[in-house]
Symmetry: C2
Subunit: 427 residues, 2 copies
Amino acid sequence: MASWLQIPKNSPFSLANIPFGIISAASSRVPAIAIGDYALNLNAFASSGGFSQLPAIQSHLNVFNQPTLNDFAALGRPVHRQVREYLQNVFRADTQFPQILKDNAALQKSALVPLSEVVNHVPMQIGDYTDFYAGLNHAYNIGVLFRGKDNALQPNYKHLPVAYHGRASSVVPSGTDLHRPQGQILANPAADPKLPTFSPCKKLDIELELACFISKPNDLGKPVSIDEAEDHIFGLVLMNDWSARDIQAWEYVPLGPFNAKNFGTTITPWVVLIDALEPFRTTGLEPGNRDNLLPYLREKKAENAYEIPLQVEVTNKGGKPTIIANSNAHNLLYSFPQMVAHHTITGCNLRTGDLLGSGTISGSEPKTQGSLLEQTNGKTPLVLADGSERFFLEDGDRVILRGSAGTEGNYVGFGDCVGTILPAVQL
Amino acid sequence: MASWLQIPKNSPFSLANIPFGIISAASSRVPAIAIGDYALNLNAFASSGGFSQLPAIQSHLNVFNQPTLNDFAALGRPVHRQVREYLQNVFRADTQFPQILKDNAALQKSALVPLSEVVNHVPMQIGDYTDFYAGLNHAYNIGVLFRGKDNALQPNYKHLPVAYHGRASSVVPSGTDLHRPQGQILANPAADPKLPTFSPCKKLDIELELACFISKPNDLGKPVSIDEAEDHIFGLVLMNDWSARDIQAWEYVPLGPFNAKNFGTTITPWVVLIDALEPFRTTGLEPGNRDNLLPYLREKKAENAYEIPLQVEVTNKGGKPTIIANSNAHNLLYSFPQMVAHHTITGCNLRTGDLLGSGTISGSEPKTQGSLLEQTNGKTPLVLADGSERFFLEDGDRVILRGSAGTEGNYVGFGDCVGTILPAVQL
């Protein structure tokens, strides 16, 4: 698909994508899409008749005059699909509706904003954030570190997508810098394993994840069946689940990670619709319809993952960027629909805007792991481009996650998921 | 304090209390207080000049025209205190302002609603719900069951208030019936410990807890100091953290409870202000200023708990009520201010309306434990009033938690926290 708009060939936001987000406009927040090097302000677009050729959305135009995407998401997948296809049509070189934008210089001027000038926000009001642990290789690698090869995976791992409730308040958009967290750590576990010290985190790590936003909610007491689960998913973002490994090691028994994960979780601000990812469907680490799954988790299709190359880059303060990992979204044992089905099987209600993380997406080879802990094993440091070594992140380190499916000129990508570590605050 | 309003001597809502909640009024939800057998509709009260003798609130009267208490809570503790004291004044037999309500039959008629006719709601929009594990006796009892007496408490337990993130979407008001959850359990762990079965939960339990709502928020990256933490707390409710023990036992490694707790959490709808509980301050299981706490958790006062008798009642379908446990809020090792300080020490932001649970509040003697698992040890069944036996809850069982501080005529109580278990839904 060619566009009348100049779209760089390496843009993650090709005409094949059309991701939705929330941007600042004047003093308010409004919905937008990203396309090439621009954002299209959907509030300005809608209020100037931009959707006049799409009858299905006419009674819902108010969703584009909201500070979050929740109302748009709640309209459901058939509407998202129509709006995306309509916007693709509007931007196509051979658009059926040239009068809408292609030949409308005034609306181009008022509604198209260079991405370099755009301020993004968390795109949805997140009710609850849940983080799964569906990255089999990550779970295995971590398990080997803590329990050895023979007991690396817990007995439940291949039967259900393990998860924990995360912290919604500290989910921040890409570009938000975070202070190094402080808390209780065991400064020298070997010397005295039971006496904690108060300290800035010394083992600050990243986790490379994908996450989905929920569109259609379900009522309390009404599980979502595996066959219907995908229609409850709005779209996906990239996510960095920053982790304080030393705080985690001391606090996590017996109820799991808490302070080690609650100080910040960074997501890309553009939600890639689930339909935009459909061409990249592939079989994950095991088929979605494998026989040894209980029926409530068994999908109709074997192909329950996506082929999306993922990348982790670290730059030390004033230094050169270093790609430290290349992974792929197919490194998951469970799909997002399986996560939805499992999450709701007890009757738990998901709400529009809820965020479900995949867990860390690691490959099984060196330089494919989505966390520093896995890459170094605490033994072999990473070497950055300037020769400096890392077991964990230092103050001033800048981390970028990237992910794009498809090929040049037609990338369906997430854009950069960026965060820089600031020093611990003075108390 | 005597009131011109007839207040039953055993009411949890004496003039010494004045708890805040949200009730249905016509087709909307409005703030209210509970007093004796009545709710006072604060929207009706405020819009008829009820607050005309309280200058401090004049510019904030819109908080009483909201569907949650969030805006009122965000005004901060000094305002809550003034409003509570003003309303006590209005209802006192010797009120300074008889014209406001005592001698105003029209406003009494329009704003006072019998509690028997009131529909309550979750009083705040909950951003995140966190559940702590501060009930030392509960943690010990459970630890003995899982790891034996010598390793009952984890090494971290006396150094920090252990917690996990809970599920906010399924927090429901007292009176909401819940379907028995379904999920993966090990039907016969002894025979084959690694092959799960899909089943309705067979070990459905309760957890007797208190929980606090947050009033004043803190910014991301800005910890709340222990000395300021109490001013971030709006008030307390009773909470039943329903727990599916068999689902929990299979799912919880390595990231903690998830589906076992996400199907419903019941709270009392009336928030008892932190100031109303001040007269009942006492030393908890250990002093709040004990030396072996790290400074960020050490309180100025030793007295960091409340003397509040608590009760658990179970009634089987068509049967007689049985009091199965008597406990007390003083059975906590950490206070709510300590929980706030710990929660935010990493920089985690708390928002107005966030809910922090205490963990199960158990005594150390028989019939004082706040969960069935502790009471029966899986060995000795409870015997209800009609002679029927229970290890865990059966369909139709009705559970009521109660808690009231103080003495007859002056109770500061929460009212009943009620829930009935319905059969599992048909899938």
